[in-house]
Symmetry: C2
Subunit: 338 residues, 2 copies
DNA sequence: GCGATGTATGGAACCGGTCCCAGAGACGTA
DNA sequence: TACGTCTCTGGGACCGGTTCCATACATCGC
């Protein structure tokens, strides 16, 4: 491998001058600049970012932490982040960080031990406030996406508000017995699904409908939702007239389960959700759009801005506006089921 | 940030000894080893991989290139790769590499220019043989997953064989007019969807059914497949009795489109596909399972093995065995439609 | 007692860049 | 003429580790 010294020698200049010529910093005459770039080209010279970051302390590399990479929201966010980083010539190092037991340990091992990221973007990480300590002890910019990161700027939507919004819509349509679907029951209160469930509870309560509020917990996947809804319908005494789902993926499971049970949507059962997953259009699902890849881009921009010297925004949620995309899965409850 | 020199000073030894003590190489007495590790602990010392790799030339970092990260197969593979790498303490740097125009340029820019990966795993990259040049010029291990990489070891399934298998199953059931669904028409011949289409053609031809073979191209997404099938059914003179889909995601689009048109599966239309996507169980879809996350793991293992000194396996496909998972979406054509 | 071998340690070169600082011309100005 | 300023270049320290080599001592066989 050719090094900068080789280039400098061929160009007949010093290492220092060669470095300046290639990086474009400091004073270099046009003539020598051409000389050096030509020499670099001739030798097929490629710079070592390692060596550079050793002295500059900057790696042009961003760490992305996410509990999943094979679920829609997370994958979309990462996609957006990657795109934005690429535009600025940054690399993305991916860490899947799931579970709780080894969570801290891994944060320590893989971020503290190796100091090769300039900043961290945490995607949908459900960190408790005492868990983020190690993350911040890096003294590097940290930005969250999706679930809110205590003490850090987070881009996303207000999950409680979004859930209240869809619940409200069902209530406004005339529904009184509503099932909230999705999210394991043992999640922390700050988890996205917990907050969406909380929003549902709050809205039902404020409408005086706590009696009609029911909850079916399940993992946030279509398959789990399908069986959860099937089981719920099995043992329910009075059926709900509507489902407020924690996500589109879960809602699709509900719709499929309803079909299996011979219920039609929305006549027998209205379904509404949050996300605007690409499948939701196919299932004619009313939902609240959130564009995760845009959130990813925004988070990346934020981080790059801070690295470029911008003053960091105050910790807290940078919330995207909420708007319902009305489709055919919601309607007033039919008179018979009322 | 504390450096090795600080640790050495505190422990009262030289940098060299401290390095040996912490890395566990060479001769170090038990006593000084404890001394050094304790000093490192006290100071909260974290080693700089950058500095280390500068001299060793190894980064403990693997580059993963993939055209998508938000599609099931790719996300699953990356997930598997990440998991396997993590176990060995390797990092994963992700590069999304799509399109063709800037494809080469990016490979050059982001791999050659920065020499900070030890090896490359190319996930579902549809590289033409003259496109892989830059990739191999890195002189680093390269392993492919999914679509076959000319000149490199690739783990995956034999797409042509898989497609022949599902087509054969339909033929064996008695179907004579079969539609192949999925994959843009302009893809290169080596692309996964092209090869699956090719497998379909071959099997139909070898059964003397070229007449009954029809093709509906579309992007490999559920939504695109949905509209493609709808349009196809619109203008088809005689309807096919079965669909061989290039992927489960596409097959789900077909099933939904069939439902929209009032066709029932499998009575009016059999559907079979390849992948065993989690949704396929919900849609009762007969399919050929491939476990992408396992493929990812396997590829990572392969790469780690080579880096550990194992002799690289010969270029070519390491194919997983093919087996149909029989579910309810396939049946003999009904007598009326026959 | 002596050389060979094994264990333990330190000094210093080295990886490949960046950047501070000194110095040399060129040019403008008092 | 003398001096300040600007442009351009090179020398060399430095980032933070790893590793080669030399040295020192202990042990062992003969």
């Amino acid at each position: 491998m050719k090094s900068l010294a080789d280039v400098a020698r061929l160009a007949g200049v010093s290492k220092a001058t060669a470095s300046r010529a290639l990086s474009g910093t400091g004073y270099v005459s046009e003539r020598t600049r051409l000389l050096v770039t030509q020499a670099a080209l001739d030798l097929g010279y490629v710079a070592s970012t390692n060596a550079a970051s050793l002295v500059t302390g900057r790696t042009r590399n961003i760490g992305v932490v996410s509990p999943y990479i094979n679920r829609w929201f997370f994958a979309e966010v990462i996609d957006g982040v990657e795109e934005a980083l690429l535009e600025d010539g940054y690399d993305l190092t991916l860490y899947r960080l799931r579970g709780d037991a080894d969570q801290r340990a891994r944060v320590f091992d893989y971020f503290l031990v190796r100091k090769r990221v300039d900043a961290v973007i945490a995607v949908g990480m459900d960190f408790a406030s005492d868990d983020v300590g190690p993350l911040f002890s890096l003294r590097k910019p940290v930005v969250g996406v999706g679930s809110q990161l205590p003490g850090a700027t987070t881009v996303g939507i207000d999950d409680i508000a979004a859930s209240r919004l869809i619940t409200r819509h069902l209530i406004d349509l005339g529904h009184r017995r509503i099932l909230h679907l999705g999210g394991p029951i043992d999640g922390t209160a700050t988890a996205v699904h917990s907050r969406r469930r909380e929003g549902f509870r709050l809205e039902m309560a404020s409408a005086g409908l706590s009696e009609g509020a029911d909850v079916a917990p399940c993992e946030m996947t279509t398959a789990e939702a399908y069986t959860a809804v099937l089981e719920f319908l099995e043992r329910a005494e009075t059926l709900p007239t509507a489902i407020a789902a924690a996500s589109d993926e879960v809602a699709v499971g509900a719709i499929l389960a309803a079909r299996t049970r011979g219920l039609t949507v929305p006549e027998d059962l209205s379904v509404i959700a949050i996300d605007d997953h690409p499948l939701s259009a196919l299932f004619d699902l009313t939902t609240v759009a959130q564009a995760p890849s845009k959130q990813g881009r925004a988070a990346a921009r934020l981080v790059l801005g801070i690295l470029a010297g911008a003053t960091p925004t105050a910790p807290g949620l940078i919330a995207a506006p909420l708007e319902i995309t009305y489709r055919g899965s919601t309607a007033a409850p039919s008179s018979t089921s009322r």
